[in-house]
Amino acid sequence: MNYPNKHKEIVTSLMDGRFITVNEKLFDVINEQENRTFYTAFFEKSFGFELKGTHEFYYLISDETKENTSREISIFFSIFCYELDKDGKNFLDELNYSEFSIEEITEYFKNSSWSDVIDASKQLKDGESIRKLINSTMLKRNIVTKSINGKYAFTKAYKLFIDYARDLIKEDNQEKNK
């Protein structure tokens, strides 16, 4: 049987909890109709994992989830976007095209009025925790990439977390209308 090109890299990457995003070669491989069908069945039959994909990123999910990490990342994006907007910036443009140093990001959190939420969060409560969240968790999962100048840019994986926050209202409304 012939496996798709870069099979090992794709499997290792996804099994490491990485998001494979649109600007990567791996994305082009997995995004081919035939390969997508193959990997969906492959992960389902081999491990019982579900391959999720959009036109901008792919990732795996299992019955077990990293709930705390996911929550901290969701809170991170909610506050960060809110603060970018407060700073008069278009947060979608910023997430798509800008690079940020850790200091710039932590400054937004330091001056945020969502201090009650920030103080209650283990991974956002101070500069060092934020640095760890970005430089370790988010970098490893390919939610951010680090450039040669030490600044961070967001990959399209950010959309999972901001779309999630946006869609909660729709879900609430649907429940109310039931």
Partner: protein, 402 residues
Amino acid sequence: MIKSEPRSILQFLATHFDLLRELFDIQTSNEVITLSQVDNTLKNHESEVKTQLLEYKLLVPQNDDFIINEPYFVLFEFILQQFKPLLPEEIEKFGQSIRNLFGKIKENNLDDINHLLARIEALSKEINKFRTAVTNNTISLLNESRELKANTQKIDYQQKVHQARNWIENYIKPLNSILDVNHSQSIFNELLEISKYSNKKRFDNSIETLRTQFEKLYSLLRQVIADINKQSIILSNELLPLIERIKTESEYLKGFHNYLTNGNCWKKYEPPHIFTTTRDNLYNPFIYENTKNYFEQFKNEEDVIIVEEISEDKHWFFERSVYKSKLESNLPVDDFFAWCEKSLKEEKDDFSFDNYFMITSLMFDEDFNIETLQEKITIKTKQGELIMPKLKIEKKEYELSK
């Protein structure tokens, strides 16, 4: 007077919290709670606790209606973090009392120290009330402005601007002047003045109790000034530019607001699923599995209790001298092997061959004469039977000539 036990009241608040929350919401929007509203709320919650509501003084009558008693109302405002924005006049009154008390303290009349101490204490109380009022008011204005920004009421842009202007003109700007460090008459500047004064007095006052009291006042002010500075930053960064800020509106911003408000991100919503990675294998690709297997092998193992077998043989020692003197005292003995059996049984009923032959070794002693008889005898032990000749044993008589 409340005759009920305090714990019962607190227990009641916890048990009937939803009912009380509904009454709180009614009063927040209507200022009073009518009798029929009380009855309807009780009916909605299928509750018959009207007597307790009055007995615990949770509700107090106001003409024909009711209101939630002030201390409880403040408690609900605090735990729900739901404060009604205060008009500047309501905050300014703390400024007045702070100024008056500080003026009297500065007169520094040491003739009546107790009165001076009471004034310093009263000043501290007023400063604390002022801090609480400012903090609660900022929270309330922040909540209102966030609601407006997220446009939870779904109003059009013109209405939003109108609303924002109202908040800015009537609440935010006046609060900002109260906290404005550049405004010489602001309460914030008054606090800085008191801080400076108490800092000096905590060292140079001649009376120790006064020095201690000024020390406490100074310490309180350090914290209050830091807290108020924080509120002031929120005012200038987030509330004063409200009109500018409400220009942008999006589904996303509504989502973030909804997710972060009231701790929804912690309590209400489950975050998106992301993959749980397997452990990193630093030394060997199977280190995790191997370690797991290693520990699992002990998981269901029953406890092993080692009971040491107590061997009586180990504890029995042949004391030759004892047995020899015993034999000597019994001489002559017609059946030596039967004697050995009998003597051993007196000490150790369940003896072994080894024990037995240790005793029989006495026959080789030079002090005894042995005569072999024709008869045979049988000795029974736990290990088996021994058929032995019958031996007569007597003391050896030494010839004097030798």
